[in-house]
């Protein structure tokens, strides 16, 4: 007799388990996790079927032959649903299952006030909800106002939720703790609190939350933010800022006097007027804008490593492109797949890319030392008319174009081409690409297409 596979029952158990977790721990972002980790379902399923087959084999007979039509349909459906969920999640759509719409939302006002005394730090513990913090020079109190939203089936349940989750402001040593006690909610419904807080500007801020945005402004003290999911907006912060986020759609910091240390996954970053050092470590899929950073900037992601000594100008970056203007070197950029365009840089530039075109236009003299290595993509170097430099450029498969005339010698050999020579006195410029045109042009001249005769 043909034995039935274990896969069906185990799938039912898993689905039941997922619903159970969701009901018991609504704070776990289960659907976001599923959107991320669903491929492991396929792996587990395949492993299970493999084990069944091997077990049958060791017992002497193989009865099952491959997947049935229903199973294949289900697999295709899971792939389709999982992929759509992942893509939607990545673009900022978050899944709230339909049954969460049951029940009503009940609103309550929240407020509290307490003198900060000699405390130097405010710690916010607000699991869900947005937090807007403003520093004021003329106050000595911590003042909180806001709104609590409780999801419940009826007013009684909502009231019970409200009573068991009071806002507390507690002074502990040199810190003041502001907590919303959302974890004490005895009912199943979600609670979220949007708070507006005024604190003495001299204080520093620390936050811990799961879900909700932070908007912090006018502080002399530092900022230390931790959240699983948050958008962050910082402006006029007088000391160091440390931001650790599980996920974000936007992190913006403007007028920051200290260092910025940003870690996490997310989409967009906007930085402007940062007096301290900037360190960013994470995966960001949106558009990144850095403007006017006075000290070293270091951006590190799985695909890109960028260091500049300081940035009087700006750098814009997204998944496929990096443009920069007015960078103080040494500039170091290693990237996998980006078109790179940099104008005006000093000291030295070291650039390494796997795929993508490179366009460099240093317009100030003396020139910076330049070293570019590309596996595939054209390299276009535009130099001022009077620039002095020593050039070694080579392409394994492509054309070489030279605007500087006889001082630069061109050699071609099969598919490869090279340019070599010195113009006046100056730093070394070293350009190498595996595939693509290399051109060295004079500023102001028209974009030089390779001669048709050479093709």
């Amino acid at each position: 007799m043909r034995r039935r596979s274990l896969t069906g029952p185990i799938l039912i158990i898993l689905v039941g388990g997922a619903f159970l977790i969701y009901n018991l721990r609504p704070d776990i972002p289960l659907f976001d996790l599923l959107a991320q980790y669903w491929p492991f379902l396929l792996i587990a399923w395949g492993t299970l079927r493999l084990l069944e087959v091997l077990l049958d084999y060791s017992r002497g007979g193989i009865q099952r032959r491959g997947f049935g039509g229903g199973e294949v349909t289900l697999i295709v459906f899971i792939c389709f649903a999982g992929w759509s969920a992942y893509e939607a999640n990545r673009h900022g759509v978050h899944f709230r299952p339909a049954w969460e719409a049951f029940g009503e939302h009940y609103d309550y006002n929240v407020s509290g006030q307490k003198p900060a005394g000699p405390a130097t730090r405010v710690v916010f513990q607000n699991d869900r909800g947005n937090l807007r913090i403003v520093g004021a020079a003329d106050t000595t109190d911590i003042k909180v106002t806001g709104r609590k939203t409780i999801q419940a089936l009826n007013q009684g349940e909502a009231d019970r939720g409200n009573d068991s989750t009071p806002l507390e402001i507690v002074v502990q040593g040199d810190q003041v703790i502001v907590r919303t006690n959302q974890e004490r909610n005895p009912t199943n419904g979600k609670i979220s609190e949007d708070l507006e807080v005024t604190i003495p500007a001299r204080m520093s801020v620390e936050t811990h939350g799961n879900f909700g945005d932070y908007d912090i402004t006018d502080l002399d003290g530092g900022v230390d933010l931790h959240s699983d999911r948050a958008d962050v907006r910082l402006s006029k912060i007088g000391a160091n800022a440390r931001v650790e986020l599980g996920r974000s759609d936007l992190v913006r910091a403007v007028d920051l006097k200290g260092n910025l240390d940003l870690q996490g996954k997310g989409s967009d970053i906007e930085l402007e007027n940062i007096t301290g050092q900037v360190t960013i470590n994470g995966t960001y899929s949106g558009s990144l804008e850095f403007k006017n950073v006075a000290k070293p900037l270091h951006f590190e992601s799985p695909n890109t490593d960028l260091r500049v000594e300081s940035l009087p100008g700006q750098i814009s970056m997204d998944l496929g492109e990096l443009t920069g203007n007015n960078l103080v070197g040494p500039v170091h950029l290693v990237t996998k797949s980006k078109d790179v365009k940099i104008e005006n840089f000093t000291q030295s530039l070291e650039l390494e890319t796997e795929r993508g075109d490179v366009e460099l236009e240093p317009s100030r003299l003396p020139l910076a030392k330049i070293e570019v290595r590309s596996q595939s993509g054209q390299i276009d170097l535009v130099l001022p008319d009077k620039a002095g430099f020593q050039l070694v450029a080579n392409t394994d498969h492509g054309e070489a174009v030279n605007d500087f005339g006889p001082p630069i010698q061109k050699e071609t050999d099969g598919h490869s081409a090279s340019l070599k020579g010195s113009v006046g006195q100056g730093p070394t410029i070293h350009l190498v690409t595996g595939r693509g045109t290399i051109s060295v042009r004079k500023a102001g001249s028209e974009s030089h297409e390779p001669d048709k005769a050479e093709l």
């Binding site: 491929p39 395949g46 032959r65």
Partner: protein
């Protein structure tokens, strides 16, 4: 190789493909390697499984395709 092993190779084909698919999707979501880059691995796995199936299958002696109804 005997018919029993040929059956085994045939039976593990589905699960192995499914695991590969899962690993590629997981790599897409959790590592920089996207599915657009790694899909050829599926072809390679298909190819390897067919090779394995061919070496496990009994030699054709009667002119009929192996596995065809007797």
């Amino acid at each position: 190789m005997n018919a029993r092993e040929a059956n085994l190779v045939c039976a593990i084909r589905g699960p192995i493909t499914l695991i590969t698919l899962g690993v590629l999707f997981a790599a897409d979501h959790l590592t920089p390697y996207s599915f657009q880059q790694t899909w050829p691995v599926l072809l390679i796995v298909f190819g390897l499984l067919s090779l394995l199936g061919r070496s496990a299958r009994p030699e054709r002696t009667d002119g009929r395709a192996p596995g065809a109804p007797q």
